[in-house]
Symmetry: C2
Subunit: 187 residues, 2 copies
């Protein structure tokens, strides 16, 4: 209660707390306005204090990306299609979520968590090349989500001619079409 009234001023922080606060600011202000200085102010701390907990902004954003992906419903026994839809939803749930995830994806050496989840699903489906299938589907999924999210935000601002809901519906059909080509059930 006290710390809520006073903000976070004076409280101790760890990496997890930074990630949570960053995700909150991301949803509220968007990626272009998510600065280390703003995050520090939000936590009631000097900018330099953040660098005790995290090496740099890029590392922090990678942790935010992992958190976003981890939020995708993770019931095992899921088909490739279900897994992909769940991941898509997770990226679209947070403002600029797709951009955060795709821009961190290649920096983490090797396949990131998103690609690994898809790979597990392809393996369960007895694909002949789960690694390749997962890579391709991950590329489509992230590219799709990135483009869709930008357009929906543009539509929300009104810089676009169509209603957000229309855009959303049409992009679901895009995703379904791509998925059915890339993840034929059976093999």
């Amino acid at each position: 209660m006290f710390s809520i009234v006073m903000g976070m001023r004076g409280s101790r922080h760890d990496l997890d707390g930074l990630v949570e606060a960053a995700l909150q600011l991301l949803d509220e202000f968007g990626l272009p306005d998510l600065s280390m200085r703003r995050l520090a102010t939000h936590l009631g701390v000097q900018p330099s204090a953040l660098y005790w907990h995290v090496a740099n902004k890029q590392t922090l954003l990678a942790a935010v990306a992992d958190r976003i992906v981890a939020e995708a419903a993770a019931s095992s026994q899921e088909s490739v299609t279900e897994t992909a839809w769940g991941l898509r939803e997770a990226l679209l749930r947070h403002r600029d979520g797709a951009e955060v995830v795709i821009s961190s994806a290649a920096l983490s050496l090797g396949p990131g968590p998103l690609e690994l989840r898809l790979r597990a699903a392809y393996e369960a489906q007895a694909s002949t090349d789960p690694a390749r299938d997962a890579a391709v589907t991950a590329q489509f999924l992230m590219g799709h989500a990135y483009l869709v999210q930008q357009r929906m935000q543009a539509a929300a601002i009104g810089a676009y001619d169509a209603v957000p809901a229309q855009v959303a519906e049409s992009t679901r059909a895009d995703f379904a079409a791509g998925l059915s080509a890339l993840a034929p059930r059976g093999s």
Copy 2:
């Protein structure tokens, strides 16, 4: 000759000149270091002078993106597969080219030039839904190129375990696999 020795100092500029200079700096320094101030210095002009020719940085980057896409070999009578490979090559040719193109793609209202080129190819191939096929393929193409380009740059820095050439070869196979699923020749 004179203007080469003296740099661009004092010469008049238009939008096309800015785009050309920006593309040059992009290749040399990469997107994170392509600033309006650096571009101005390169042209021998004050930063504020750029805003006579272009509304803002975002607009300039959109023009750079269009230039990159326009550089893709554009012989009509090309199959979807050939068109897609040509576009992929164009994005990968310039440093951070894929990022520049994907981040501008959704800001231009409606389908951008990359998607339109694919649509024309799908139409020539008598697809039942050229607009949807082009949208899906564009999403895969840009997502793929973005991820591939980042990884290849990481490999070049040595932050990666594999040789750049290996990475490049493996990603060509990814692209081929995605394309053959999304662009079945015939229908």
